[in-house]
Point group: D3
Chain length 341, copies 6
């Protein structure tokens, strides 16, 4: 039977202007769903494991459709609570060249943000699971959501389920102070932590020396320094640091670093022409969890995660619609993009 990976968080209705239109130009919006933890559940299901996404959705047509889309992606949806008033919405304008993409949230008072402890039976949810993943967005949604997240973490630990977290700081949802406080309480339950330098600083005040994210070359030493501090401070077993160089909204370089508390494993670096940047980080998480659970070596795991995520940037929507075979082909060196007939 395929391995079960539980993820917990918010999934939203994603409404995007067509092509490169600004909201002021849009006569229609493209409908997708997305959210950090749902995206990870989709990734692992795509790779053949059993992604299982836990959230709360309203009992209306949008809640139904969201579940239907997840089911279409092979994600187990049976632990999704129903009720509440609304699904969160976010609007995406896709940027190009020097113009950044924008994400405008309308997520307050969503069903999951207002969900209570009664909505989730963690014991049942984690039955047979090997991995539990969440991101820093889940506890940021509300105090209730932070409490739910903590309860889940505790139960996961108790039942021997591995826990991963992607820091994902969202300044619209909480302050650095609040984030630092809440996340510090959750860190003891985390085995694998995914972060980038900026989030590490914003959430925990952990900085690398003299590196520059916006422009210039990235120094590996700075990133290693951050990874080490995270391991030391919170006792996590593994830290993965993603290394994005934003050349423009159209072109990014992309690589990552994995630290297992002893050794560093650095991936190849890809130069990416971007089709859809949103969900890029989550596809990294999904790839990493799959690879680690599937028993890839640490070096191969970070290569798989980065290659998977590289491919995601060429896929429209939050979900990463690629197969293990496609990811492995890229890991194996074929990024030539030659037509597959």
């Amino acid at each position: 039977m395929s391995k079960k990976v539980v993820t917990f968080g918010e999934i939203m209705l994603r409404l995007q202007t067509p092509s490169y239109q600004r909201i002021s130009q849009a006569k229609s919006l493209e409908v997708e769903f997305g959210g950090g933890e749902a995206n990870v559940a989709v990734s692992v299901s795509n790779y053949g494991m059993q992604g299982c996404f836990v959230t709360k959705l309203p009992d209306n047509a949008w809640g139904d459709k969201c579940i239907s889309e997840l089911r279409a992606m092979n994600v187990c949806t049976k632990h999704i609570a129903r009720g509440g008033d609304r699904i969160g919405v976010y609007f995406v304008e896709k940027g190009a060249s020097q113009r950044a993409s924008t994400v405008l949230y309308d997520r307050a008072n969503s069903a999951i943000a207002l969900a209570s402890a009664d909505d989730f039976n963690w014991e049942e949810i984690f039955e047979g699971a090997e991995w539990f993943h969440w991101t820093g967005i889940t506890p940021a949604l509300s105090d209730a959501s932070a409490a739910n997240c903590l309860m889940a973490c505790k139960k996961a630990k108790e039942m021997g389920v591995k826990v991963s977290c992607d820091l994902n700081f969202r300044k619209k949802l909480w302050t650095s102070e609040k984030a630092g406080k809440v996340m510090s309480e959750l860190m003891p339950y985390v085995d694998v932590l995914i972060a980038n330098e900026e989030d590490a600083e914003k959430v925990f005040g952990i900085k690398a020396s003299a590196t520059n994210i916006t422009g210039g070359e990235l120094s590996d030493e700075g990133y290693k320094d951050v990874a080490k501090q995270l391991v030391e401070k919170f006792g996590v077993k593994m830290v993965a640091i993603t290394l994005r160089e934003s050349i423009s909204a159209s072109v990014n370089n992309w690589a990552a670093l994995l630290y297992d508390g002893k050794d560093f494993f650095k991936s190849k670096k890809y130069n990416i022409q971007i089709v859809d940047r949103v969900g890029g980080g989550d596809s990294f998480g999904g790839g990493l969890i799959y690879a680690l659970l599937a028993g890839y070596s640490n070096q191969d795991s970070i290569e798989f995660a980065v290659a998977a995520s590289c491919l995601k940037h060429s896929i429209e929507g939050d979900f990463n619609r690629v197969s293990v075979k496609e990811v492995e082909a890229l890991m194996g060196g074929d990024g030539s993009g030659r037509v597959q007939r």
Copy 2:
């Protein structure tokens, strides 16, 4: 200078599935804006008067776009307050044949629902205005909104501005009890009341004897009875009753009755093949206000309102994009739909 008509209420982002798709099928949503009072402002501006719409919109891209669309329709937007967190949203599935259209609201906590008295300077707003229109939706949004509405009504009366109201009962927003109580306080300020039999009953418990709305033929006497009761109970000067016969989601009959406290004026009846039903009632209100203000006779006013509204059913979106010339051609008897070259 053109006559100024002020309207006050909520305008929402209207997201509609393409063609006859259900939400479960939609990969895109068509973007429009709409709301009872905004639709009326658009109508009178289309006819050459100065519609002036008052509301509150968030200070984000959707608020900007909404104002831009109103401005494009020649509506004065300078009294629109900015602030708050969100614009209300509603989702439309267009029905056909025996399947009804559905409207799914996500409007709680909109900027206008949470607007305070400080957001509107009614003295300035009504300067130079001849008419003030609102619907039963505005006081239903929240207690604050009901208070704003009352304040506006009082100031309008004080400044000699005529007031019209479309009952428009929305059961998702309030109960009949609450509606009856709040609306009864507002009625004394109303000169022209627009209603249909169902709303009169739901809001004020006013019933006609032995008529049937869903099926069968409509008896005029029943409607006259309702109109008379409204005039007697609230002292309004005029009551317009719309007479919709829903044969199916695709075909409706449509007519109306005007009562000026003395005489009844009944319009022609139209058999309509429906393109877009939403906003149909508002286009009646817009036509009636224009015709009365422009000095049409009572008979011509009700004919203009019904013809305008008949045409609206052939127009996509909430706004009624027809000219006085087109409405008058239909009033004048040309409903043949022959190609205009």
Copy 3:
């Protein structure tokens, strides 16, 4: 070898708003080409004869595309002159229910309107042809165009080619006075005349007694009267009168009458739900020419023409994309619209 039918006139770029949008709503326009005589050439080519369309088109991408579309429809384009500044354009808003469709022309100074006698070698054009068709639009374009049309008619007569004309009065192009004068000079060359009552009156002042086109029932006697007057006045051999009852922009009744100078042949009447009304008359002409040339009886010819035209109302664009087999099935009585698997 298939019979050759030459038609001469203007073909325009047809730009239509999607669905039922008004121009004020359109963010895109659908691209088609259309024009009375081109539509007829397409019809006869569809039925297996050799339609040959003569016009003048600018030597630019739109001229190329127009020729390409005609070629795709199997129309012979080798006698199309190239040059001039522009192709005429017309904008279509599709109506529904009581709202009429509108056609907005931007056709002045088109290549064909400014074409000179040198642009066409009629001797070559009519080589092997059996029929020549034009409409009242061609001489209305300009004096030069009227002269070209006269020249063509003379050469056709000289070479024994049958001539048909569809009156098609366009009030935006010329006055009734001018039309009457010019068309009267052209009538002597015409064998088969297609008209409706309104055009007969507008162009030649020929009226039937006491009939009403917009509403009510049509009296056959009135139409017969018109047909007889046309035969008597101009010596044409056949007159076809189309009988459109416009119930609304969505529903029309449609039938026709053929008069061969001796007998009247009346077709069945169809009740049509309209998909696209523009080009409906031309599809009648195309069907009639095909049927007469193919040797159908007079009764069958008028039935074929009306059935072909009935089907055109269900086809988007100016061109009638139906086969002889489909037309004959409808003539034969199957208008049930049952799915053809």
Copy 4:
């Protein structure tokens, strides 16, 4: 736990021209999936039972997508065999008014047509099932497919699973002779037979006296006669006869008759404005199976089936996307199509 309904047959890639375009006009095709038995599985899943669809699909992106769409509709797909070369394809042109819709098949050599007995473990498939449904298309696909169908019927009977069959004669797949022979062997296993008059005649030579399907009024006695003959000849327990009156491709009347070997139950008749006619019959089957299994009375069962199917004609695509609540509202008399807010 919800009741399990197994269906077996072919599902195809459905590619439809947009709007009312003919294939000659299409620049794009809309993607859906559909097939008689799959459509029934979707219907019962929509109503809350567990539809389980059995077929064979190629191991490529289209096979994956098809399964994904079924899963999205809540259909159990775990017994779908994978392999073979291709999924069948059908192209739909939507008709209007007098122009019929056309369905062009490209289904030869599909995976399911070439499937062997080894592809299906019927014992496992029918575990826990209460109903098995197939249509006359399945045995028509190939001799192998007829053999698979027979095997399934035998196993179903053996395991006490009720069997229903929709005759659905397809003249492109086999002759009346072949159909009669093969279907007669399968009839002994059938409990509930769905048919229309035409199919009964084409497959079994069973005719009613003096009725006319294409035009005119339908005589109930004729249909009852057909139903009785089917019961007598094959010993089926129930026969449902659908009564479609095709007024045009845009408008149909729709009703049905249920015969339980003793009494006749006739449904209300609906006048339908058609959005999508394809899949209309299957939605009747799905509604009937649901209603009978859910314990509705015979009269209510036929009303439910007809109301469900009436609504399907307003839904785009093969699948009937309506809820029990919506069907019951229509059964209960509300076909007014009034906006549901």
Copy 5:
């Protein structure tokens, strides 16, 4: 109150093939409006000043829509004359890689080209204005248009309104000889001149030594030389020279130079991935006028203009839909295109 900037010229209906289609492929055209001076009015209105566009538009649905779009962009449209026969049209094919974009004009006989002196009351138009902008296209439209432009310039000077001109040579509208003659008469009224090397040579025969526009590196000295000659010859106070390096239709480098008669100010250079190139130059003009009027330093003004214009290349349509905040962020160094949440 916001500063008023008047612009005068032609605005056209812009019809673009979707995506990268050639006209031969297009089944639809995207609808926008654009024109050099209108684009500048939109830019300054976007930045919060009061753009006021003066032109003449036909009194039909396209004229109405054009005004509506301008109003939506916050541009003052009250001085737009109505009348004439048509709005000019231009067709855009978007190029990519080595294939250039093409613009096909159909602008002859537009309302503005045929407008007379009576159509504009310049005294009223310039009331309260601080800036007047036009381009070399306006006088090229017709002799009447050149006369209107001269009259406007004279009145502007008289009323103390600053005048700017963008040379914009259009070889399809006039010859270099004609352009040189007409523009030389207008230059005495110009304060700020915008040009590129090619236009300077084509209109005035002013050349830089030994530079190459199509390929290779651009020498700054050559451009300075051109700027100096323009100042010396015409007495303009400022010259802005845009420096476009066309690497391909997909990638351009973009910078500019400002000369105030004493010092040169050179902007940063941007490497741009192009979404829509048309209107790129106008967005530079709009940015420059805004910055100079808003009191930016010369260096900041040229940086603002170039950054604004850089962003325009990522926006679809002629209008530059960016805010001051977005332009300043890019000026300030953030061209990383990182997602804005």
Copy 6:
């Protein structure tokens, strides 16, 4: 009269997901037609010669449409046989960045694959022709197709028609062994052979020493070596080798080499941003045939072919919609992509 170029092979219905969608995301598919030899016929017709495409197509709506599209492109279609069951179909997913485009074929049992010798009258077909072109796909379709190809080659030789072949190995259609055997029998009739290194190796086992296609720099010597071996082994008069460097699915370098048995002619190299890669090779063939037939020098011929093909990469669909003038402009050095007004 224009020179006649005959091509023979399969043309398929090409169905592509919109934008960068994967099949799993597609709700619609874009309709084009394409096939190696048809694409070449289109190219030469575009350049003004008479392309004449020979194939077999089913007698249904798709066969009709395919012929219509070819006719629209000015290709002579009169030798296309009609009959058989189906047109082959292929599905395209467009890749980007590191994700390759995929082509999924559903072409088995197409009319052309099952065509017999009787379907083609080669003597008539080659009448007046100067060139005959086919690709390695034609004989790979089936043994019957290989036999047809051989018969055509023999007749071409007999009638003095020049023969060209593009190797185009398709591993899904046959093995290297089969290909080598069949192609070796056909080579004696070939005058001009087009290949790339990979195909030369896969079909004939001809390898260059130490070159690397996927990454790194290409060594010219290796390619020359391959060209020489092909000339020596088969006696072809000319070999053209295409040199594609796939940097990613979005960016390719593109050049080619021509060997006339004596001298090598190498083209410029282009760096291409890809809009549509499919059909890129065929546009090279079409350009080469045109240039050689039109009498360009060998150096100019290879430059024309490469420039034509470079432009094709910016055109959507299989067909290369560019003119001789556009190709020559690029050959002449203008790849700047500056807007053509």
